[in-house]
Amino acid sequence: MSSGLRATMRREVGRLTSRKIYLFSMVLVPVMMSLFFVGLLGPGLPLKIPSAIVDLDHSPMSRSITRSINATELIDITEKLNSYDEALEATRRGEIFGFFVIPANFQSDALGGRTPTLEYYTNLTFFVPGTLAYKGFKTVAVGTVGSVVRTSLVSAGINPDAVSSLVQPVAIDAHPIGNPWVNYSYYLSPSFIAGLFALMIMLVTAFSITTEIKFGTSVGWLSTAGNRIVVALAGKLLPQLIIWIVGAMFMLSLLYGYLHFPMNGSMFWLAVATVLFVIACQAMGVLFSSIVPNPRLAMTLAALFGILSFSFTGFSFPVTSMYGYIGVFSWFMPVRYYFLIYINEALDGVALYYSRWYFTALILFPFVCSVLVGRLKKACLKPVYVP
């Protein structure tokens, strides 16, 4: 290790410990936000969705439907209302996320072959509870249809044993691979925590570099490193890298050690990917600081990039469904590759071979992002602060 590098690292440790903002944004924010996500999403699914039933029939059959709706883990009937209008009003007030309407004369119409219609409404303005309420209502509606058919067929003289294959000749068994619980937290927690790390790493990297330019200390920074920009950057970013890696390993042990998130592949390769991901994000911070060697503008770029990456990387809305000219942006974001590696390792547990391009991309980031460091060096030697 050259003396310039050692001196720069010592200098950087001094800088990191001299300002509370580093403690806040490098330790406090990542740790608190990791705990926030796993705490908030801990249940995995927001079950027991507040819903209403509008029973206009008041028959044994309608009461049985009400009971079966309430018995599903998805639905909690918090209100029994007397009309569609009342239910709609409760929806607008935000008290319920959906309601199920049993029409008047339902039982007699059903048994008399007059085909009544069960109606259910779900409020999709809040997507997750709306979708789950829909699923719960639909299950009950389909089950009710099946049981009435069964009753009619048995009473028409068909062998009860044969009835179930008659009612459901083809059963489709769905197997959600890797996440049979359909747990939301398994997507949102790792991807949003990673996105948050990416955001903070890019911001802090850009801040720590450009603040030297702002206060004119960049000249001293470079001379400590023997006027070699690569040594200067390495000396500055290595101590930060260690802090980030400690934080990221805390995140990994929280998720896979303490909370037992699914890990069907190799923990080792995910940890390697995590380190490469942290370095790639630092490289992005360097790139932003080189493009605009000004604290506010470099951090504007980092913030813009970091916040948009939550959407562009397709944690929630798939990149394959985006417009082509939008989806292409996702390939410039380290967190995208990290997310794909996470899916391959933790959820799908496929061989490393299938993640080879994602690893390659993460490794390429530092090289591609350092093309403009010459420009950064110039700005550091003649620091100009533009507010």
């Binding site: 809040f126 067929l153 299938y354």
Partner: protein, 404 residues
């Protein structure tokens, strides 16, 4: 008595001075203008473009057909008719299909057993296996809905055939005895942009405003440190309350057209749900603008430097997004998160605006969030007042300590 009028008059005079001064400061500061104007103008467009394809369609699916009969082909034909499913190809066996899945070529596998048609002919139940890759819930949701509908359709076809073939038509069971019908409220197309954008635009309003205000505040605190505790560009002789109100007036005035743009123009431009009436949602959002302006001025306490809002404020967008209940409903949160969410103006703004905009609720039906935001306005005004007065006094005190 005359004194009181003079005082009131003086206060309004000071407030007006602060307002005019702040206006000039904002317009001249390109960084603030970026937050106050460019961000609310461009972010909603960017976000809508990301999510505008709305639904997940034509997800590639592999078929492993071990039956190779007319019935199994009928099944696959029905499956490929669903908008969510695109049959990417027939795999020779499960191993090949799994390989396609690992390579990311397909996201689900339909496995039809070899006895599929013979069991149907015998009147027995047969099981089709459906394996879904779970990298994205939205994709799984689309596939599962398609598969469930497929099962219902096939069941109905086969059952009716059997009932009629078995001579049971006389039993009266010629069609399903009950129909069921569902409707999606607020977002009838089940679109992703339609669901997420009404909430996002409100968050953008709050976050861009707080970022801009703390940027101004941080810059001013830097000037104070350089100028012995005084800020030559601020009206320091105005009382703190007049300063807070003068600035707030300036910010809210800038944000009224911005609010009009994100709540009215954006849904119209992109054909997002927009059922509510402007006479309901504009008055509803007003207290959120006030509360946010005050909250921003209170947060200056933590912002020592022009550039630190990026480190302190930006990440809270993600935090506030989750606290607002847009992605994870608030009823499923524990009381700590609920209370934390209660403190954020946008939590109530998102909740109320979505109900008004997408469910056509009225202002009176959104009374709870509306009142909550007025309470926040009061509390955050007091905080902003204290912070403004305190920072002024402390900067001067510190400058004197340095002299001594």
């Amino acid at each position: 008595m005359k004194k009181i009028f003079e005082d009131i008059n003086r206060w309004f005079y000071d407030m007006t001075r602060v307002f005019c001064n702040e206006w000039k400061l904002v317009v001249k500061d390109i960084g603030v203008m970026l937050f106050f104007v460019a961000l609310p103008l461009l972010y909603p467009i960017t976000y809508t473009l990301i999510y505008n394809p709305e639904v997940v369609e034509r997800v590639p699916v592999a078929v492993v057909d071990n039956c190779r009969s007319g019935e199994s082909r009928e099944f696959v034909r029905n499956a490929s008719a669903a908008p969510a499913i695109n049959i990417a190809g027939y795999a020779a066996d499960m191993a090949e299909a799994r390989r396609w899945m690992a390579e990311g070529k397909v996201f689900a596998i339909i496995h039809i057993p070899s006895d599929y048609s013979s069991k149907i002919a015998l009147g027995e139940q047969t099981n089709v296996e459906f394996y879904a890759e779970m990298s994205l819930l939205l994709r799984y949701r689309a596939l599962l809905a398609a598969i469930t509908d497929l099962q219902l359709k096939i069941t109905q076809d086969i059952t009716m055939n059997r009932v009629q073939a078995g001579g049971l038509a006389t039993s009266g069971v010629t069609s399903l005895p009950i129909e069921s019908h569902n409707s999606f409220l607020g977002d009838p197309e089940q679109g992703f942009a339609s669901f997420v954008m009404p909430g996002i635009v409100i968050l953008i309003i709050q976050q861009s405003m707080i970022l801009g205000i703390t940027l101004i505040g941080g810059t001013s605190r830097e000037r104070r440190r350089r100028n012995r505790g005084y800020d030559p560009l601020m009206i320091d002789d105005a009382p703190a309350s007049a300063t807070v109100w003068g600035k707030t007036l300036c910010y809210v005035l800038i944000y009224i057209p911005m609010t009009l743009y994100v709540t009215t123009c954006i849904p119209e431009m992109f054909n997002l749900p927009h059922y509510g009436s402007a006479t309901q949602y504009l008055p509803f959002i007003f207290p959120m603008l006030l509360a946010t302006a005050f909250l921003g001025q209170a947060l200056i306490y933590f912002v020592k430097e022009r550039e630190t809002p990026f480190l302190i404020i930006v990440f809270t967008s993600v935090l506030f997004l989750f606290l607002s209940g847009l992605t994870w409903p608030r009823y499923a949160m524990n009381s700590l998160w609920t209370w934390l969410g209660n403190l954020v103006p946008a939590t109530w703004g998102v909740e109320g605006f979505i109900r008004i905009n997408s469910n056509a609720a009225t202002l009176s039906e959104s009374a709870r969030p509306f009142i909550a935001m007025w309470i926040q306005t009061g509390v955050y005004f007091l905080l902003a007042w204290w912070v403004t007065a305190f920072l002024r006094v402390r900067a001067i005190r510190r400058a004197k300590q340095l002299d001594a």
